[in-house]
């Protein structure tokens, strides 16, 4: 369908993105959400982003080589501040400030790496995020639908927008090749 949400809302302070196999991502990230909830109940404080991403990473390692296909980013805000981790089916787990996943990821990297500045405003960052997805969708046959955009802040995430990519491309058309 056209308006699939590829972002799972684990809790008000944790988000997970999904690329690869939809079934695998939904299953394992919902399982991650369950584990995060159990952690909160058992330990009386919210799980850190590092720990949550490591839980997912270890789930992947348990099935390594068996054909899972998961490329996800775990994003949250904890005691250490904002956190972003890339986790995939090989058990790769990387902490970083920007990642792009999925089969159109190269196209997104090109646009975002070129447009990124250290001193961007929040609105400029929203625009760059939309641009990355829109341009990747334009070139990649397997990408499409909508951009579901979330902003992770200190007191939790907010959903910024849900824009149809074809509308975005139409808006950007003047400045595009």
């Amino acid at each position: 369908s056209n308006d699939v949400n590829k972002v799972i809302e684990i809790n008000p302070y944790l988000l997970g993105t999904m690329s690869g196999s939809a079934a695998d991502c939904q299953y394992w990230e919902r399982l991650l959400a369950k584990e995060c909830r159990l952690y909160r109940l058992r330990n009386n404080h919210r799980i850190s982003v590092a720990a949550a991403s490591k839980l997912l990473c270890n789930m992947m390692l348990g099935y390594k080589g068996m054909g899972l296909s998961v490329g996800s980013m775990v994003c949250g805000w904890d005691k250490e501040g904002p956190g972003l981790y890339y986790v995939d089916e090989n058990g790769t787990r990387l902490s970083g400030r920007m990642f792009s996943t999925g089969c159109g990821n190269g196209y997104a990297y090109g646009v975002v790496d070129s447009g990124y500045r250290e001193d961007m405003t929040v609105e400029e960052a929203y625009e760059l995020g939309c641009r990355g997805i829109a341009h990747a969708t334009h070139r990649d046959a397997y990408s499409g639908g909508v951009v579901n955009m979330y902003h992770m802040q200190e007191d939790g995430w907010i959903k910024v927008c849900k824009e149809d990519v074809s509308q975005l491309i139409h808006r950007y058309k003047e400045g595009m090749f």
Partner: protein, 172 residues
């Protein structure tokens, strides 16, 4: 491609690794740390298959730390290297071998500095200098040519700087 180098000096071991975490043609991180501290005097450098590297290295790291907690004293670099190799060997002919290449650098109070080369086939060699990756094809000969078991600090750093000066532009 991932590169590791190690050179032993008179009372120290110098090691270096590249900082790139790549997925096919994309550099996902340019500030990635491939060194794992096993103890105050032992460093493990690890490259290889995605997922295997961190999982294997952290497994060794935690076990070395556990040894210290249980026994009150640390594993020597040689013991740690042999423990690591044994794990590689045991997993090699299992369903889940670890495809990792390692350099272990350590300082032992009685034996002095030591550099241990290990690869995914569970080989282990104590060597005065070693390297992993395509860069090794360019730098091993430099070290063969210029390395001396030195008395002076400069004589080890100079060949290692030559190695890095050559590998970094060549691999770009």
């Amino acid at each position: 491609m991932e590169y590791l180098i190690g050179i032993q000096g008179p009372d120290y071991v110098l090691v270096a690794a590249d900082n790139v975490a790549a997925s096919s043609i994309i550099q996902m991180k340019h500030d990635y740390d491939k060194m794992f501290k096993l103890s105050e005097k032992i460093l493990l450098l690890c490259v290889g298959e995605a997922g295997d590297t961190v999982q294997f290295a952290e497994y060794i790291q935690k076990n070395v730390q556990l040894y210290k907690m249980r026994n009150g004293y640390e594993l020597s670099p040689s013991a740690a290297a042999n423990f690591t190799r044994k794990n590689l060997a045991d997993y090699l002919r299992s369903r889940t071998p670890y495809h990792v290449n390692l350099l272990l650098a350590g300082y032992d109070e009685s034996d002095g500095p030591g550099l241990f080369y290990m690869d995914y086939m569970a080989s282990l060699a104590k060597a005065p200098f070693a390297a992993h990756g395509y860069g090794a094809f360019l730098t091993l000969s430099i070290m063969d040519r210029y390395y001396r078991p030195a008395d002076l600090r400069n004589q080890v750093e100079e060949p290692s700087q030559r190695c890095l000066d050559l590998t970094i532009p060549a691999e770009l």
